[in-house]
């Protein structure tokens, strides 16, 4: 249930800014836009109507009516129902997302925007790292924040003064290229800026969805164990940079740093590895340098 407009949710995706304007994407791709301000005026009736839209989609059983047409056909079956035939499609399942990711990539390239897709399991420190990065990096930045529910992370990040758009994926466990596209329409990042895309905390699903980003940054904290990359190879194999986080906890844990790096190298031999502690600030200078350097290369 959308707490702003009361829309029922299902598998709906919600994209929202700080004004309460937000957009729902229904499972069939239908887009419903709601404006936070219009709630204060008597326009709520209009909203009611757009709900009806939602419902008619939910019904989806209007398709069933379509079946009665099929039944009509079944009368013809006496003649028409021969053996079924096989049609070869050889269609890539991920093609639609890949096409939309290409659109994002072109959008970023045309504006010389550096887009970084930050991924990790929940709780490995993405939001905390971003909070500090946004305060210290000194580069024009915006954030697309993905979470299943709530705008809590977006609110934390907005407190740094940087524009943030929250994408709530509902029951979805990852961001897809079209969600990022919608986020960009709300954010309108400046040319030459950095767009941080904080993916939904999940080490499995986000790995399969190209968002059109320039680089993939995967975080894993030292409380998670050295063999995380071996257990979640799909996520790590496409990483350009692996940040080993919470390094300040090292004295308190039996964490073998060299073994952790070897695990990364076995899956992603080309990935850069950096050790950071957002709490102490150790290693962050290298992370900031990497962002600036990557941005220069992306714009070249």
């Amino acid at each position: 249930m959308c707490r702003t407009c009361g829309c029922s949710d299902g598998n709906m995706v919600t994209v929202g800014n700080a004004d309460g304007d937000h957009t729902h994407i229904l499972p069939d791709g239908t887009v419903i836009e709601h404006h936070g301000h219009s709630h204060d005026h008597g326009h709520s009736h209009d909203h009611g109507h757009s709900h009806d839209h939602g419902h008619s989609h939910d019904l989806g059983h209007s398709h069933d009516l379509g079946h009665s047409h099929d039944h009509g056909h079944s009368h013809d079956h006496g003649h028409a129902q021969g053996p079924s035939k096989v049609e070869i499609l050889e269609a890539k399942v991920m093609e639609k997302n890949e096409r939309l990711a290409e659109r994002n990539r072109g959008w970023f390239a045309g504006r010389e925007v550096l887009a970084l897709n930050l991924m990790s399991s929940p709780g490995s420190g993405k939001t905390t790292l971003l909070e500090r990065t946004l305060r210290e990096l000194d580069e024009p930045s915006t954030v697309v924040e993905g979470d299943q529910e709530t705008a809590r992370d977006a609110e934390r990040l907005r407190a740094t003064g940087v524009p943030v758009v929250q994408v709530n994926t509902g029951t979805g466990c990852h961001l897809e290229a079209d969600m990022v596209w919608m986020g960009l329409q709300t954010l309108k990042p400046d040319a030459g800026s950095v767009v941080f895309i904080e993916n939904v905390g999940n080490l499995v699903c986000p790995a399969l969805f190209d968002l059109g980003e320039n680089k993939r940054v995967v975080l894993f904290s030292i409380t998670e164990g050295e063999d995380k990359p071996l257990k979640y190879p799909h996520m790590f194999k496409a990483a350009d940079l692996v940040l080993i986080t919470k390094m300040d906890l090292l004295p308190h844990l039996d964490f073998d740093l060299e073994e952790a790096k070897a695990s990364v190298a076995a899956i992603a031999p080309d990935a850069r590895i950096m050790e950071v502690s957002t709490k102490s600030g150790d290693g962050l200078a290298a992370w900031y340098d990497w962002i600036r350097e990557t941005k220069k290369v992306a714009a070249a």
């Binding site: 129902q81 079924s84 499609l89 890539k92 399942v93 466990c173 499995v204 071996l230 190879p233």
Partner: protein, 110 residues
């Protein structure tokens, strides 16, 4: 559970190609290294096809084993995980040659 959104893509693509015809079966090619849980995919298929021209269609899955080639010893290595380093002595770079496929191979229509 990315299988749900992947299955939606599969159903949408087949519906588009079927152009209203009844679909009796769909054959997928899924590599063992594609990161897809087949049981979840089958479950989602039944849910997502409900009320479409694929309702009741059989889902056939052709699994493609993972295979990599070592750049050092040129050996073909069977892979269960997408590792990038050959388990051979030289621990050299391994290039994945098969197993990452995720294709709708064909559909059976009336």
């Amino acid at each position: 559970m990315h299988e749900l959104s992947i299955t939606r893509n599969i159903v949408a693509t087949v519906v588009e190609h079927a152009r209203g015809r009844k679909v009796e079966g769909v054959t997928l090619k899924v590599g063992d290294l594609a990161g897809i849980e087949l049981q979840a995919l089958r479950f989602c298929f039944d849910v997502c096809t409900d009320g479409t021209c694929l309702e009741g269609a059989k889902l056939h899955i052709e699994q493609i084993p993972g295979r990599g080639r070592c750049l050092e010893c040129d050996e073909l290595v069977a892979l269960e995980q997408p590792i990038a380093i050959c388990p051979c002595d030289k621990r050299a770079r391994l290039v994945i040659e098969a197993g990452e496929e995720l294709l709708i191979h064909s559909m059976e229509v009336h």
